[in-house]
């Protein structure tokens, strides 16, 4: 049972932390899955792109030539091989309503454990119904929680 209001997910990849960080950020345009759950505008969205510095933008690119589109957020922390943090907002939220995503890269054996933590939801006023629609897998998954007592 979560009492912190932070969502987290983790995965282990067969790359050293520096490479994992580079691939995560520089290749996000390649690996970020398509589908309406993951894009503000799935029709126009071409790829996600990080501007690789603190203050840089995370953009859902709608025009590959200009690199412009929807600004998902701004980079807060850019520590190659260790830590990445950026703000995250959806198109329908007010401009001031941003959440925080932190990605950590930790060496594990010959690979890297990549952990994402997504919090700051308390700043999004009553966005839950939209959010549930945007992030959810629907009722089946929602209900599975009620039968799954332990995590």
């Amino acid at each position: 049972m979560s009492t912190t209001g932070v969502a987290s997910a983790a995965v282990e990849v067969p790359l050293d932390p520096d490479t994992a960080f580079t691939v995560f950020t520089a290749d996000i345009g390649t690996w970020w899955k398509r589908g309406t759950r993951y894009w503000n505008d799935a029709e126009r969205g071409q790829e996600l792109r990080f501007e690789p510095e603190v203050g840089g933008r995370l953009i859902e690119v709608h025009d590959l030539d200009s690199g412009e589109g929807f600004e998902i957020g701004r980079v807060l922390v850019w520590e190659p091989g260790r830590r990445l943090a950026f703000t995250w907002r959806q198109g329908e939220w007010a401009a001031t309503e941003t959440t925080d995503v932190e990605v950590r890269f930790e060496p594990v054996g010959t690979g890297t454990l990549v952990t994402v933590e997504h919090g700051g939801w308390e700043r999004v006023g009553s966005a839950s119904p939209d959010l549930a629609e945007g992030y959810g897998h629907g009722w089946a998954e929602l209900l599975s929680f009620y039968v799954e007592e332990t995590r």
């Binding site: 994402v116 700043r123 839950s128």
Partner: protein, 113 residues
């Protein structure tokens, strides 16, 4: 349910209130115990407890033998709603991290060949 999540998140936006919730996860506690756990005045802790009560995250009741002793315990409902909501966000990231892992594995094969 949606309101529950919003209210729960707002109540949990404060570190002191998150800590109170953590303490109450272990077991119900007397109000006095909770006040002692923090380096702040009784009224300040009481204010946080009131916000948690109003948000429906905790409830307060008296002891049978002494109604003046106030006992606080967690109410599970808002946390179930919050967890169900967070599960959806987690599924979102688990999906995308899965795609990242596949991409990394393809690269890693390419690097070692």
């Amino acid at each position: 349910m949606v309101n529950d999540v919003d209210i729960a998140l707002a109540a949990l936006a404060d570190p002191t209130r998150r800590r109170i919730v953590e303490l109450l996860r272990e077991r119900p506690r007397r109000a006095g115990e909770l006040v002692e756990a923090f380096d702040m005045s009784g009224p300040a802790v009481s204010r946080h407890l009131r916000i948690l009560r109003q948000g429906g995250l905790v409830n307060e009741h008296g002891l049978d033998e002494d109604a003046r002793v106030r006992i606080y315990r967690l109410r599970p409902e808002p946390f179930v709603a919050l967890q169900a909501w967070l599960d959806q966000v987690q599924a979102f990231w688990a999906d995308q991290l899965g795609a990242f892992k596949e991409h990394a594995e393809r690269l890693s094969k390419g690097l070692s060949e």
